[in-house]
Subunit: 199 residues, 2 copies
Amino acid sequence: MKRGKLFVLSGPSGVGKSTILKDLAQRQEFYFSVSATTRDPRPGEENGVHYHFHTAEEFQKLIEENALLEWAEYVGNYYGTPAKYVDEAMESGRNVILDIEVQGAGQVKESRPEAVRIFIAPPSWEELERRLTERGTDTAEKIEKRLARAKEEFESAKNYDYIVVNTTVKAAVCELEAIMIAEHCRPAERIAMIENTMK
Amino acid sequence: MKRGKLFVLSGPSGVGKSTILKDLAQRQEFYFSVSATTRDPRPGEENGVHYHFHTAEEFQKLIEENALLEWAEYVGNYYGTPAKYVDEAMESGRNVILDIEVQGAGQVKESRPEAVRIFIAPPSWEELERRLTERGTDTAEKIEKRLARAKEEFESAKNYDYIVVNTTVKAAVCELEAIMIAEHCRPAERIAMIENTMK
């Protein structure tokens, strides 16, 4: 059976990752990783759906047991990617997509060197600013901070395996799908798959 | 302007490379490299279309001037890939496809490390044998030789960047196109392309 592959997506806030992933989900099946966290569930959030909710002690144990592909602390709470569900999905032949920021992506690359890292970039800084402004959720000051952070993150883009520019959702999804197909044509994948017929 | 990329295709005789390339040409524009050779033109063959025909002296000069991406001698004649047309096509933004055997592909990788190498594999040896037999151009003995050579070549497949299995022409072309799209999403390509908008 064909094993799924691990894809790590990063990109600045407002670049349109959620929209791209929603569109991709209409076109193909993949496992979108659910993070573990120590923060309290918000109303309507379900355990195992929006997050895997854990106590600080449980989370600490996950770290010690090497059960997280990456983790970080953010304003007093812990967030991380449990390896278990990722591995199960891949074993069952599903591709896995992680949506994590640049530093987490670096951690994943260390524990899973075969992970394919894709950076989603805006077509221009002006366009990213426009999208953040249109979203209407942030103050001008917060948008400035997000833009500065985005420019910092973009410095890491050159270390990714691929850069997808989100000019239109359609074009970005097309490139993402092409990358996923291409990565399944890698010799390591292919030779394992065809070894029975090519003896 | 977006620069074209260099793709090197290899695969055993009878695997269906010509059919795949013919189908791909219906779907997108690319420059299919024309080889240089010292052999005499056959009736109907045009210089610059089927081959670039050269005298042995001219060919020797091309070798000395490093003007060939790869070259080999085959039953008393020389064959090679002139760098000039490949570079011109890439400069003008066109992807270039070379159809060359395993050893030539190795030479290209040395002179052009950025070349993307794709091995076209048959779905099984039985299927390759069937295709060679159906073609009706070879004796049983020659088919045996081709199969033995194909198995030898397949040993090199693991060193290629990608392996495309020609189960159906449609699926193979789809994978080939995906690889071409994906390779244009590489950071080196992308950052050069978007550097003006991402300052």
